[in-house]
Every structure is written in structure tokens, then in C-alpha cells.
């Protein structure tokens, strides 16, 4: 299918991009890797009249050690997250989850900023950043603010980003070691998750998030509460679908998704060292 016609401008800096989207209001959309936006435009689910291409913006592809956390530029590609030595050593879960996104072509184009800003409940990276308890730096005409990942995903393909704001950086706490796991269940080897579960131990507590179990990427609060009160992996996993509203589509019913959430949560917890 063919998208509706649109104008196209290239921004060479974050500031320029922000002033361009402020100028065009809700008609404008940022274009990063284009691997979510272009498919949406082809299906005419998104009909922006102006695309502001930020792929050429320099200085936003970094992966940097900032003491207790790692800062990742919004334009860092999935592939560079997957292969970052720093992340592999200090936040191995994020590197691992990036390696499970789509196929190599997708990982060479898609960006972490695009993936988070898109707020697709079926995406992998939002779940990882949620489980890690990361935060997002966004910049608007009036400066920067930091939003906790748990506050960022507000609705179906909706985030806390204002129309004139751009996501510039993602922060994740250092979380080396092996007390983490990501379970991605897809019908084909290289595909979107039917359901996914990310589990990570951060500051001694197990944090768990779910992919494709509701209208946003979400934390499995029922599981976390059970674990905090001493439940076993199996007992806590039984809670995985509680309070969720799993979608139904051609791939799976809500019941099957709820079942997967329980099975995968149990596997993820056990693999993260929870008995």
C-alpha cells in the first residue's frame, strides 16, 4: 500500500528538530529508523503531513558510562545496543533484548528512541527499560525533563511525550551479572512477540515487565508484589496475568496470552535465580 503524500525535512540537530515539530504542530512526526512509522503510514494508520527526519542528527547515538547508570542516545540503533561492550558488561539484559528484535535488517535501522517513543505494547525494548527501572530524557522548546519509564507509557501507542518534545536519551541502571532474563515467545523465529516477559534484579528486588499483555508495555505488579512477600517463582508466576487486559488478534486469544504470561514468567524468574 502507498502512504498519503507528505512533506519531508531533514533536521541536523535536536534543537532544529524540535523547532520544526513545534512549528508544524500535530501534523508533524519525527522520523528516526522509520521501521515503525513507515509501516503505519503505508497502512494509513498514521497520516502525518510533514516528516522531520532526525536520522542524520549527530551526537545522539552514544552509549556512555555515567557512573551508576548508562546513558544511551535516542538514535542508537538496536544493533549497536546489541553489540555494545559496555552494555554487555554492565547491562547485559538490554543488549540481549536488543538482539531479539526482528531480524538483522530491522536492527540495523531501528533506534531505541523510536522504539520507546512509539510505545507499541508488542515491542521488546520498552519492556526491558521498564524492568530495569530506567528513565527517559526528553527535550522540548523549553528545555529538558526526565520521565521514569514507569510513567512514560500512557496508552495504546501513546506516551508522556508532548507534541513538541523529542526523546533524546535513555538511562538504565548498571545491572551486571546473571540475575535477569528475557523470554520472547513468537510464532516465527524472527518476529514480534506474542507475549514477552522481562525480569531483572535491580537493587536487590526482582522487577518484571510484560510485552503484549495490555494496551501499553507494563510492569507485572502482581508478580512483583507476590515476590516481595516471599512467594516462590511458581507462585508468583501464577499472578502474571492478573490485572492485565491481553489483546486478541489472529495470532492468539487473550486466554492463550494469559497462559503464556504465566509460563514465561515462571521460566524468566527461574532463569533469573528465583527459586
Amino acid at each position: 500500500m502507498i502512504p498519503a503524500s507528505f512533506d519531508y525535512v531533514k533536521a541536523s540537530s535536536a534543537d532544529e528538530a524540535i523547532s520544526l515539530i513545534s512549528e508544524h504542530g500535530d501534523e508533524a512526526k519525527l522520523l528516526a529508523g522509520g521501521h515503525s512509522l513507515i509501516p503505519m503510514m503505508k497502512l494509513r494508520l498514521a497520516v502525518p503531513s510533514v516528516l522531520v527526519d532526525i536520522a542524520g542528527v549527530r551526537d545522539l547515538s552514544h552509549v556512555e558510562d555515567r557512573g551508576d547508570h548508562i546513558a544511551i542516545g535516542a538514535l542508537a540503533k538496536h544493533r549497536s545496543i546489541e553489540t555494545s561492550d559496555l552494555l554487555i558488561a554492565q547491562c547485559p539484559m538490554l543488549a540481549h533484548v536488543a538482539s531479539k528484535v526482528g531480524d538483522p535488517q530491522v536492527r540495523h535501522r531501528g533506534t531505541i528512541g523510536g522504539s520507546l517513543a512509539h510505545s507499541d505494547p508488542a515491542s521488546d525494548l520498552p519492556a526491558a527499560v521498564l524492568a530495569l527501572g530506567g528513565s527517559l530524557i526528553v527535550q522540548g522548546p523549553n528545555g529538558q525533563r526526565e520521565i521514569a519509564a514507569t510513567d512514560f507509557f500512557t496508552g495504546y501507542f501513546e506516551s508522556a511525550l508532548a507534541e513538541d518534545e523529542m526523546l533524546t536519551e535513555v538511562k538504565v541502571p548498571k545491572s551486571p551479572g546473571t540475575n535477569w532474563n528475557y523470554q520472547k515467545f513468537n510464532r516465527r523465529a524472527q518476529d514480534w512477540a506474542i507475549v514477552g516477559v522481562a525480569a531483572a534484579q535491580v537493587d536487590g528486588a526482582m522487577q518484571v515487565s510484560l510485552v503484549n499483555m495490555g494496551s501499553t508495555p507494563l510492569r507485572a505488579t502482581a508478580v512483583e508484589t507476590a515476590l516481595a512477600s516471599g512467594a516462590s517463582a511458581a507462585e508468583a508466576a501464577d499472578e502474571a496475568a492478573n490485572g492485565t487486559e491481553a489483546p486478541t488478534d489472529l495470532n492468539a486469544s487473550p486466554e492463550y496470552r494469559a497462559h503464556l504470561a504465566r509460563v514465561l514468567t515462571k521460566r524468566a524468574l527461574e532463569a533469573s535465580g528465583v527459586e
Binding site: Q183, F185, R187
Partner: protein
């Protein structure tokens, strides 16, 4: 280059480097662009159509309607479909043209200077439709309250029956009876190259269509019929073909583009016109593998000897026949399997519904039949506690068998041969080997206690060539070049219409000619798939071209040798090969000789199932084939591996959703064909070469056979692994899980 060795494919360099031109690649610069507008109405009467805005839209050159088709009807074996739905047809059609019975019935062709102008103008067509009641599946069509083709009193338009011995007595004599109802799903062909065609009037005033299909002469015949002209006034040729699998056997763009070119010609517009479908248009706009429901009973003694088979087959033909009546015949024969069945009652019916037409697809009814026959045999073996291959060996057809059609089988029956070779390679008593760690798509290997391994077998046979008395022949022409005083030719030209759909037939024919003449491969120049240069080859289907086209080129070489010996320079040879006649079956008993050759196959499948999620991974397939002679072993293995990959999708992941006559998932993001990470990790090909007495160098055929036995081998392996029988597929994880839950595993 000897037959039996792996030469480089004649099309390899062009295809790998991108030089090969597929039908959407070779669009002339000044071509006009066409859009075929579908009715988008699974069942409705056209009340009015106003084209004035479309015609007035910028860039529009003309709009082609039913009025432009002299004989507005189409059908490979029955004329039951209008070329265009319209109110202004010429009246020369055997079907009412004002009723759309399928969402992809053609309404008009809009021709414009550019594709975007044609699309824009298409959106301006103003139609009024009167919705009509739907009979969108077999259950609702059976009642005949709503008729798909009101000319007849019933939707059940084609029936076949077999009455052999006495099925009632046979069942009484049985110690065990296996019963089951099997639901066979649709499948989309999903060829890489979607439908596209360019049409023009050539310098000899012929309507010319360049496209991709499976039989240039059939395309030409159908075009000529609709245009009411002699076949000589029509020329069809094929560009490179990016897959077909039966999905390009029926007409997609052929007729409408010919009609369009003719109309442009009549308007004095001397330009070619191109149309290419999108993936969505392709999936919505062409037929599918048939869905079917089969209820079957199998009776046997406690020693495992079959006493009787009963079956009721319902084949959902969809809105139009396409090749459903022929597919039904194949399914009908194959529900009894490759076994001696002393008593049989089989009733098979094709029924019209307001849904996507079923038609040709690799195996042509064979996969549906084999799923029933082999599932029944596997269940029988497990009920009797018998080795499944020993059970098959006891009942296997041989050269002495009368067969289900009571007329004997063509010489060289290979059922016991493939069973022996399969058992030798994969002994049923053997422990399952250790396969690499299970990675059930999820990133973590599941715990061992959540995994179950199993092995399943299936055996079958598939006809090579057209069946049931359908005229079967294949023509070839060769020209030997060389000087008058030379003893042997130094160059040969081969003219042949066999469609290269990716299977490698052009390479195989070149190789055969080179070998037969005693030249090297490079000294044979092939000219293929053009009705203006080659004779009628028949289609690229029914696993027939190696056998049929091979015999045709051997005959042509022999004729040219005679001319050469007589001193002709160049020396031409023409030959039309005709195999032994086959017969339509007796309408009461089903007696008759339906086929002249078969290929035989046996498969063993090892799989692992994750009982936590229902996900299945196939670890290894051993695929045993009696091919008569492997002309080109590498391409042969390609056919086996490719067929298994396609059957894997059919069995495990592909799920076409059709609701009220509309396809709900016409995209490859929603219709899941397997990727490289999903297909079986290992396929071992075992090739047997028991020569067919009539085949060229003994060759039979192979391209459908590996497909046919895969699904029942997988379900048997799942039973072995987890103790559940599933009578339908695809075996999506949620379906598997439901069955596991009801079996409390």
C-alpha cells in the same frame, strides 16, 4: 554434460545477479498503466455503475468493462466465471454477469498514463450493489437454500464415488475400526513474484501478453475464447517466473490484459499496457489450496490387514470451479492411501460456496487425501500396538495389486521399496537421537521436563502427469546445426514451452538434449515459453515435466537425427510425446485406469514439542523418494527441501482467515509463512532410482511428493511425543496447547 550430474543452472547467473527480468521488471518506458478493480463483493448484484468521474479523471485513457469482452466467461475446465462483472455484457456468456460471487471478481480495468492516476480514478467508480444472501462455507452451502450458481438446483456440482467389494461386510470383518473427521485448511501460494503482465498488439497484429504462468498454450486458449478469435491471433510468452506452485495455473491478468490491449488497439492507441498486483491484491485475487472436510473409517484385522475403507469427502470449491473437479479426483483416490483395500466406499463431492475459489496447489488434492489416509494408518498402528511401517508393509500396493480403481497400477510400483529404505535409515525401534538444544523461539531453552520428543512416519504415492482421460501430450522442437560435411552437429537449438517456475526444467531439458546429442551443455541454446516459437508442452504441474518434456525432447532429437542422417542442414526434429491413455472413472464403481505413472515416497519426522507453550520444532526429516532417475541430483534435493519447507508452513503456521467470503489477513505480516529459523533444521534426502519403464532414462517426477506426506508424519510424531492426535492443522501453539490441556499433559 551427462544426465545424472549437477550442471550449473542455465538461469543461475541471471537470477543471482538480478539480470533476469520478471514480468514486473520489463515494463516499456511508454507503457500505460492499468489497475484491475475488484468488485469487493462476495455476493451481490450490480444494480448500477457510473464511470463518468473515472473516465474524466486526469490521465485516464480508457476503462475496460464487460462490454469489451466478446465472450464474457472463463474457466479451465468449466466456463462458470465471468471475466468481468457488469451490466453491459454482450450476452454471449454461460454465466450471469451481473452478480459478483467472490470479493475478487473483476469489475473493470482502469487504464491511465501513470499508476497513481489509474489508482486515483479507480476510487471514483460509483457502484450500487444489492447484497445477496451468503453460503460462505460447506455447512451452509450443503442445504442448497442459497445457490451460488442458480442455473443448477444444487451447490454440490461434482461428485465421484468408489464402490469396491462390499464395504459393509468389510467393516463387519474388521477387528478394529478407526474413525475420524479431518479438517484440512486453505493455503496461500505466497510465491515471491506476484502477478504482473504487459500486453500489446505485436507487429503481426497479434494480441500479445507477457506474464508468468504455468502453461502458455492454456493461457492463449482462454484468451482466444474470451476474445472470440483464433488462437493464432494471440501470443503468450513468459518472462522469468518467480514461483507458481499451482497458483498461476488459472488466469489472473491474462485475459483482462489481452482484452485491454485489444481495446487500446481498437482506439488506435499503439502502446503497451502494464499491470502489476500488490501482495494484497495477489492474496485476495487468486485461488487457494482447498479447504476440505473428510470423515473416514478404516477397518482392519488384529494382524493389521485392511478389510475396508469408507470416506466422505467435502471439498470447498469456493465461488468458481477453477480445477476443483480435478483436484477432487486426486483427493478421492488418495484417501485410501498406497494400500491394498479389498472393500471400499468413497463418496467425494465438490461444492460451490461464496468464498475464495480453491484450485491447483502443489499436490493437487494429494496432501488432503494423504493426511486422512496416513493419519488413519498411524492411528491403526497405535491401536494395534504395531510398528507403523510394518503395518504399511503388510498392506502395501505392489505390481500385483488391483488398486482402489480395480484396474491394476502402472508397472514399477515402489511402495515397499520406499518403506524399506525409510526403515533402514530410520528404524522405528531406534532411540531418538539427541538434537541440539531446543530453543523454542523464546530465548531460553525450556527446561527438559517441559520438552517431549517424538517420531512419526508417512508413506504415499502421487501421479505424474494428467489423470482421468484428460488429453496428455507434450511437444518439442530441436534444430541441429553444423556444416554439410560434419559428422555430428556442433550446436543445437531447443524450442520448448515448458514453464520454468523455479524447479529447473529449462536446465534439465538442456542437459537432456546435450546428453542425447553428445554435446556439451553450452552448445544447446534453449528458447522457451513463447507460443510463437514452441509447441504445446502442457503445464508445469502434476510433477509431469521431467517425464513428459523429457520424453518430448528425446523424440525430437531422434527425429532430428534422422533428418541429419538424410543430409539436412540444419536438421529439424519435431515430436509430440503421448503417454498411455488414462481413463475417466466409472461413475458407479470408480473403476478405470486414472494414471500412467506414479512417484513413491516415505518420510520420517522427528520433532520436539514444548508442552508449556505448545510450540513445535521439527528437528529432522528423512525424505525417501523413488524418482526413477535423478536427472540433476542437486535440483532434485532442492525440490525436496523446498516442498518440505512449504509443507511445514501448511502444517504448522500458515492460517488463512476467511470470514463471510472475505480474506481477513491478506498480508505476509499476518499470514505466517515459515522463515529460515522455522523450517526443519535438517532434511535428509534419500533417492532411489528404480527406473520407470516409460520415463526418460527411467525418470518419474518428484516436485509434489515430498510435500504430500509431511503433515501426517508431523501429527504422528506429535502423538508419539505427547500422546495427542490432532485431526486438523495448522498446529499453531495455541491449538497444540488446547489439545495438551484436554489430554492433561
Amino acid at each position: 554434460m551427462a544426465v545424472g550430474t549437477d550442471s550449473a543452472r542455465v538461469d543461475a547467473v541471471d537470477k543471482v545477479t538480478g539480470l533476469a527480468l520478471y514480468p514486473a521488471d520489463a515494463v516499456p518506458k511508454d507503457a500505460l498503466h492499468a489497475v484491475v478493480v475488484f468488485t469487493n463483493q462476495p455476493h451481490a448484484r450490480l444494480v448500477s455503475m457510473d464511470l463518468s468521474k473515472t473516465v474524466a479523471s486526469p490521465g485516464v485513457v480508457t476503462v475496460v468493462t464487460a462490454a469489451d469482452v466478446p465472450v464474457n466467461e472463463y474457466g479451465l475446465t468449466l466456463f462458470d466465471q465471468p471475466v468481468f462483472i457488469g451490466l453491459d455484457d454482450t450476452g454471449r456468456s454461460s454465466v450471469p454477469c451481473d452478480v459478483s460471487r467472490w470479493e475478487a471478481d473483476h469489475l473493470v480495468v482502469v487504464v491511465a498514463e501513470s499508476l497513481s492516476e489509474a489508482r486515483r480514478a479507480s476510487a471514483l467508480i460509483d457502484t450500487e450493489w444489492e447484497p445477496l444472501p451468503m453460503a460462505s462455507d460447506v455447512a451452509s452451502a450443503k442445504a442448497d437454500e442459497i445457490l451460488v450458481h442458480p442455473g443448477s438446483s444444487t451447490n454440490t456440482y461434482h461428485t465421484l464415488q468408489i464402490r469396491k467389494g462390499d464395504a459393509v461386510l468389510g467393516m463387519e470383518a474388521a477387528d478394529v475400526i478407526i474413525e475420524g473427521t479431518y479438517e484440512l485448511p486453505h493455503q496461500e501460494h505466497a510465491y515471491l513474484q506476484v502477478e504482473a503482465a504487459t500486453a500489446w498488439i505485436d507487429e503481426q497484429d497479434r494480441v500479445t501478453v507477457e506474464t508468468s504462468g504455468q502453461w502458455v498454450h492454456e493461457d492463449r486458449e482462454q484468451i482466444a475464447h474470451a476474445l472470440a478469435v483464433d488462437e493464432e491471433e494471440v501470443r503468450v510468452r513468459y518472462a522469468a517466473i518467480g514461483g507458481a506452485f499451482g497458483g498461476k495455473e488459472d488466469m489472473s491478468l491474462q485475459i483482462v490484459m489481452a482484452v485491454t490491449a485489444r481495446k487500446l488497439g481498437a482506439l488506435g492507441i499503439n502502446r503497451s499496457v502494464h499491470c502489476g498486483w500488490s501482495r494484497e491484491e495477489s492474496i485476495v485475487g487468486h485461488h487457494k489450496r482447498h479447504r476440505a472436510t473428510v470423515t473416514a473409517r478404516l477397518g482392519a484385522t488384529s494382524e493389521g490387514f485392511i478389510t475396508a475403507v469408507e470416506a466422505d469427502v467435502w471439498l470447498d470449491a469456493g465461488a468458481y470451479n477453477y480445477t476443483s473437479n480435478k483436484v477432487l479426483g486426486n483427493l478421492h483416490l488418495s484417501v485410501a492411501g498406497a494400500y491394498n483395500v479389498p472393500n471400499a466406499r468413497i463418496d467425494s463431492r465438490a461444492i460451490y460456496t461464496h468464498s475464495v475459489p480453491g484450485g491447483a496447489f502443489r499436490g493437487f488434492g494429494g496432501p488432503q487425501g494423504a493426511f486422512v489416509a496416513e493419519s488413519q494408518m498411524n492411528k491403526l498402528a497405535s491401536k494395534l500396538g504395531m510398528d507403523p511401517m510394518e503395518l504399511r508393509q503388510r498392506n502395501a500396493l505392489t505390481d500385483l495389486s488391483d488398486g482402489i480403481t480395480q484396474s491394476g497400477l502402472p508397472e514399477g510400483v515402489g511402495v515397499t521399496r520406499v518403506i524399506d529404505a525409510c526403515v533402514e535409515r530410520v528404524p522405528p525401534s531406534e532411540e531418538l537421537p539427541e538434537y541440539p538444544p531446543f530453543s523454542p523461539i523464546a530465548s531460553l531453552p525450556a527446561k527438559a521436563e517441559q520438552l517431549r520428543q517424538g517420531r512419526g512416519y508417512a508413506v504415499g504415492m502421487k501421479n505424474v502427469g494428467f489423470s482421468f482421460g484428460f488429453p496428455e501430450a507434450c511437444e518439442a522442437d530441436v534444430v541441429f546445426h553444423g556444416d554439410a560435411d560434419e559428422e555430428r552437429p556442433n550446436r543445437v537449438e531447443l524450442f520448448h514451452s515448458a514453464a520454468e517456475v523455479g524447479q529447473g526444467v529449462h536446465t534439465a531439458l538442456t542437459q537432456m538434449v546435450a546428453y542425447a546429442v553428445g554435446l556439451d551443455f553450452e552448445s544447446v541454446d534453449g528458447f522457451f515459453s513463447d507460443t510463437s516459437t514452441g509447441g504445446d508442452s502442457g503445464s508445469a504441474s502434476a510433477s509431469r515435466l521431467t517425464f513428459m518434456a523429457g520424453n518430448s525432447v528425446l523424440g525430437a532429437v531422434e527425429e532430428a537425427e534422422k533428418a541429419w542422417a538424410d543430409g539436412a542442414r540444419p536438421a529439424a526434429g519435431h515430436f509430440r510425446y503421448k503417454p498411455p491413455m488414462t481413463e475417466a472413472l466409472d461413475p458407479e464403481t470408480g473403476e478405470g485406469q486414472p494414471n500412467f505413472c506414479y512417484g513413491y515416497m516415505a518420510q520420517a519426522v522427528d520433532l520436539t514439542v514444548d508442552v508449556g507453550t505448545g510450540h513445535i520444532r521439527v528437528d529432522r526429516v528423512v525424505s525417501v523418494h523413488d524418482v526413477g532417475k535423478a536427472i540433476h541430483p542437486q535440483m532434485l534435493r532442492g525440490q525436496i527441501e523446498g516442498a518440505i519447507a512449504q509443507a511445514h508452513g501448511y502444517t504448522l503456521s500458515e492460517q488463512l482467515v476467511v470470514e463471510n467470503g472475505r480474506i481477513q489477513n491478506p498480508r505476509l505480516s499476518q499470514y505466517l509463512i515459515p522463515g529460515i529459523g522455522d523450517v526443519p533444521a535438517r532434511v535428509d534426502c534419500v533417492i532411489l532410482e528404480a527406473a520407470d519403464p516409460l520415463g526418460p532414462w527411467g525418470a518419474r517426477g518428484v516436485s509434489e511428493m515430498p510435500y504430500i506426506t509431511y503433515a501426517p508424519a508431523v501429527t504422528a510424531a506429535l502423538y508419539d511425543a505427547a500422546g495427542i492426535w490432532i485431526n486438523k492443522f495448522p498446529l499453531t501453539p495455541s491449538v497444540v496447547l488446547e489439545h495438551l490441556a484436554s489430554a492433561e499433559i
